[in-house]
């Protein structure tokens, strides 16, 4: 399986993601500079976390116009798995590939901590190795993670199974209905605020994040 990990100026955990995909899971993962990412023949793509373009204007707003996003859009149309982690999630929203908005945390602080999440929909390329309603532990580290959508859109996201994960018994960022992960209509594009690559080894405090990447390996559309 060939996976592109797209690097923007200000990305972080991009190398961690490549490490987990290639050294832990044995996949062919390549780190690709956003301006050079024009090859849509990869089997899947990951947009890593960080602070692309310094979060100027709004987190993800500038990266959303990168040439890389044209390739991501093509891959998304081909129903290939696309994962946005943290800033990657913000970029996918700003590029219009995912619904809603990610606003500043209601506590007005950057929140960096381990959290417990509940899997709402295991029918995606990034959750199929997990059970519905199961709990997983992964860390978050962000300032803009308060998911927002109006009541009507929330209803339709719920009805179409596009809410993928929620916080379980906590809500450190004040996000709407504890939502931390959503997908597009086809469910091949998933964004999540927690960092699965930072939870991919017992040495780091947990390896529940591996299941997110293993799902991608097991996924059959």
């Amino acid at each position: 399986m060939r996976i592109a990990v797209v690097q923007f100026p200000g990305s972080n955990c991009d190398r961690d993601t490549v490490h987990v995909l290639s050294n832990v899971l044995g996949l062919d993962a390549r780190l690709i500079w956003h301006r050079d990412f024009e090859d849509d023949s990869f089997d899947a793509a990951v947009l890593p976390g960080g602070f692309s373009f310094g979060d100027h204007l709004r987190a993800g707003a500038i990266a959303a116009h990168s040439v890389a996003m044209r390739t991501i859009r093509k891959m998304a149309d081909q129903r290939k798995p696309i994962l946005g982690i943290c800033n990657g999630f913000q970029i996918l929203i700003e590029a219009g590939l995912l619904p809603g908005a990610l606003l500043r945390n209601s506590c007005l602080r950057f929140v960096c901590k381990w959290t417990t999440l509940q899997v709402e929909n295991p029918d995606t390329p990034f959750t199929c190795a997990l059970e519905k309603n199961s709990k997983v532990r992964m860390p978050i580290a962000h300032n803009e993670g308060r998911f927002f959508a109006d009541a009507k859109s929330l209803n339709s996201l719920r009805d179409s199974g596009q809410i993928i994960m929620r916080y379980s018994n906590e809500n450190p960022t004040g996000t709407t209905e504890e939502i931390v992960s959503v997908s597009n209509w086809n469910r091949n594009v998933v964004g999540m605020m927690p960092h699965p690559e930072r939870a991919s080894s017992p040495l780091l405090g947990g390896d529940d994040g591996l299941k997110v990447f293993k799902s991608m390996m097991e996924w059959t559309p």
Binding site: H65, E94, L103, S106, S153
Partner: protein
């Protein structure tokens, strides 16, 4: 062509809470006795200048730019565009 100063203000829609504005209202404005101030909302200001024939075309171009480049996320934000008299 004339040059018009244009201010674009991006702020959260009323439905999207603005915790920074709420904090300013609660912990500064009201605490210090300005009770007549009923609401504080924060936003982001882009001060630009546009070369255009007249005010109306400057406004239209600013709005087109906001929409085409998605300078705001229409799900959560609204924009207000103010065109000043030409320089």
């Amino acid at each position: 062509m004339n040059r018009f100063p244009v201010e674009i203000i991006i702020s959260n829609k009323p439905q999207a809470r603005d915790p920074e504005g709420e904090t300013i209202a609660r912990d500064l404005v009201h605490k210090e006795g300005f009770h007549a101030v009923k609401d504080v909302r924060t936003g982001k200001l882009l001060a630009i200048s546009i070369e255009a024939e007249d005010e109306e075309s400057a406004r239209k171009l600013a709005i087109k730019m906001c929409n085409d480049l998605r300078l705001y996320n229409p799900v959560a934000h609204s924009i207000s565009v103010r065109v000043e008299h030409q320089i």
